[in-house]
Amino acid sequence: MTRLLRRWPEALIILFLTVAALTCLLPLVHELMMAISSNDAVLSRKVGFWPVEPTLNSFREVFKDSSVLQSLVFSIYLTVAFTVIAMALTIAAAYPLTRPELKGRRFFTTVIVITMYFSGGILPLYVLIKTLGLLNSMWSLILPIAVSPYNLIILKTSLMSVPDSITESALIDGASYFRILIQIILPLSMPIIATLSLFYAVGRWNMFQDALFYISNAKLYTLQLKLAYIVINNTSPEVFQLEGAAAGYRIVPAAITAATVIVATMPILIAYPWLQRYFISGVMLGSVKG
């Protein structure tokens, strides 16, 4: 009995944490149940944490709806293209900065780090993109966020751990820096490259604000932007008439919205085991540096 008394705080803590953990999961479970229930059941609000009249109809509708499918395909395409380009640019900046024979290293690093603390803000960037004619172009969703100074510094720090002697002997053998980077440095640095690629990919996949600012052509809507419009329309019906009409938009049945949410969450859920591990190491790297 006394042992039980001594243990009750732990029981309370476990109870609290269980509730907290369930709170994190249940909204997604509810969404999933709505997605696999019939639209009638969803509309009559019968769906809680169990499917009612289970069906995969909503998913079939999602993949039949050319506009949702288009957004899905575009989002995947954009995320892959962005990750490749951003990674290439980040490597192209990080590697030279690790070489002591590069003059002005300190200056270039400062130029990069300054962008972590100062930015022109939302509006000047919008005006720039408009002036460059990049509105409604995929490049507006790639280039402004392609060089993350944060990722760049992490990569630079990591590349510095490759022993200098390897580069030196390759140089003596007549290899160019470019070849050394491709054939020696990169193969040795695959773990950090995988980590940073994941950072870039998740960031791009989840973001909707730049697409909201720069994209009005429905063909270039990302999945997240489509979802954001659905949410905005759902919370302000009177705005729906205006913005909805402008966006060439129609009322989306709740079950189909739920299925779209699940489809948009799927890549994150599939990658979650890796995400968790790599992002935690990212937090650590960031805090060591900061």
């Binding site: 803000g121 960037l125 820096y177």
Partner: protein, 299 residues
Amino acid sequence: MRTGRLRSIRQLYLLLSVPLLVLFVFSYLPMIGLIIAFQDYNIFKGFFGSKWAGLAVFKEIFRMPSFWAALRNTFLLNGLNLAVGFPAPIILALMLNEVRGKGIKRTFQSTMYLPHFLSWAIIGSLAVELLADNTGLVNVFIKSHGGKIIPFLSERWRWLFTYQGIWIWQNAGWGTIIYLSSLTAINPELYEAAEVDGAGRWRKIWSITLPGISSTMVVLLILQVGRIVNISFEQPYIMGNDLVRDFADVISTFVYRMGILSARYNVGAAAGLFQSVVGLFFLLTANTVARKLTDTGIW
């Protein structure tokens, strides 16, 4: 061979020049572009053709009630976040630290990290499905049990709580990581010695655990105070609606509405610049305080 190497060094500059060019165009040009806040900017005349306006644009935004409301709401949302969002991960980390079973602890962590990876568009959808007045699961449940619906998203005071609650939902679990890692740095012998001296659970938390993470707490607190005028766009935008506009319109959404939707470019730029200047003041002050307290500063 020496010349071969020199030629090769040029490759390094060539490599570096591409990302630097991208950074120059998309990070530095917008900083220079802030000049339009001092211009009677016209996109057709452009940057060089537009007339100077001096501080007229700033005078104009200072006369706008909606600008002051946006500024006030930015402080309001961030201030509340400091009060409830800041302690949440600390409490959660202290609780996780008391869990003895390794497996169960890891399960809690994995579950509570998940919301961090969900986008605001998805969280917005989840919030509507759960919390909307007549159709949200919570209110449907309350109604079916004879209660009165709670306007989580449509009444401004409730909305403030919903906003913070959802922020905590997304971030508190993830925020425990940094505290848990500084907890592992505490020497376990301290706990053993305390036990020998007869200290109980609370005593150990108060005298060993909290002092052990206090420096992390101070640094994160100061960082957050330093960013009190900075507010992201996506959460307030996705959670805002016309019924709660009084509290939901913050600087970032103001810049979007005025600057982009209404095409008042110089007004948007001026509001953004004003925010940055006030923000810089807070950041510098915070850093000075941090230097004094921890003698390291935050950079």
